[in-house]
Symmetry: D2
Subunit: 133 residues, 4 copies
């Protein structure tokens, strides 16, 4: 995704409200984007299968991951405590969604893919959290 690499290089570090690990942040943005996509598709694919809870959780996951990604893309207004709390919410949602999708992963490929995207996102958020400590 060279577009995002270019975009992040165009942001001078001095624009940042605080010193962030830009590599961890870009990886985290991309993981959030992938999870948002996978969860949106999984939520829709669940509809015909009668997996109400999975579909609803994936809809939540998509919104949370999109919001998390956007917050990282807005350095101007970055607030450390709001960022950390949202990162925690994104991880909690990612864990809940991955657990739900895992229970359907053997019969539904879209659930397996969504589970993996959620797990990768949780790992990226965890790394990002560590870099903010």
């Amino acid at each position: 995704m060279s577009m995002m690499t270019d975009m992040m290089q165009s942001m001078s570090k001095s624009d940042m409200a605080m010193d962030m690990d830009m590599t961890a942040m870009q990886e985290c943005m991309e993981a959030c984007s992938a999870a948002a996509m996978a969860a949106t598709m999984c939520s829709d694919a669940d509809l015909g299968d009668g997996m109400a809870r999975c579909s609803s959780m994936c809809a939540n996951m998509a919104d949370v991951a999109t919001t998390m990604m956007r917050m990282m893309m807005r350095p101007m207004g970055m607030d450390m405590s709001a960022m950390k709390a949202m990162m925690g919410a994104c991880m909690a949602m990612g864990e809940a969604c991955a657990a739900e999708c895992r229970s359907h992963s053997e019969m539904a490929e879209h659930c397996r893919i969504c589970m993996m995207a959620c797990e990768a996102m949780v790992a990226s958020c965890s790394k990002m959290m560590a870099s903010m400590a």
Copy 2:
């Protein structure tokens, strides 16, 4: 907002994944909606005034409040730990945004309105959190 009252009455309690205080939740949804609207308008109004940080924080606030509201509107997939973590993120963001808007509230009416909407939302979320304990 009788539409939402009607909608919530149409949801049988048994559809809920857990026992929620429906009155507190409806109030909280409406507070999130109001904060999302106020923050979207404040973010845009800030643009001409050179208030970069305020505009960026309001954009974050609008996304976080919209996501929070939507999560409450999806009882099927409600997960207690994700809900609580997101509620915490919404409060942290609301406090940060209210503080930023407060510092401009004397010269900009849209900041004063956004500050009040954020404070009301934080209070509603706080009540909602208490009811989930």
Copy 3:
């Protein structure tokens, strides 16, 4: 919704990129907000009922109405042709969603409420379109 009335009064008309009918626009924002809420709740309520198509269309409706509402809340960057095209998309989506929900409205109260919210939104958008001509 006095918060929005106050917010819109705080925006001086001179901030607008063009001469908009502010009364029609406020009514339209509120109709979009109501449709977005009703559709989010209807989409989730459909999940247990095996109404895949209705749930998916409502998810689309919620996103389209939220985006339409936000565009009206951002006078700074208002572009007439993008605004009109989006208004057309919002009406097309509203009509499709209302038609789908109408077919379930006798057995599902949430579909009846969502149908009405969509119809009211289409009517408001239509009025808004006329005022932009």
Copy 4:
């Protein structure tokens, strides 16, 4: 982006409400995602530069592109007329945003990147439109 390729392969064509060109659609989803990201970052980067109109248009672009992408990710509820109208809105918004960003592209790298992402998205949407005719 192999995650999305895998996800789209997991969706059987029979799940689709109509015969879509899946290759064109995946390309279009990815273009919308890239434009949404670029526009979110451009909107924020504009804040310090006093480019009110550009920032506001980019905020609109981000919401429109995210909604367009999500609609393509929900085959269950696909409605041809709503899809085409939204595709038209996405192209109108993409053209307006690209034009605005083009006017700042020599002095601001983030505007140049956003302009290119918008133009690529308009081209993808155009191709997608042709395949839906």
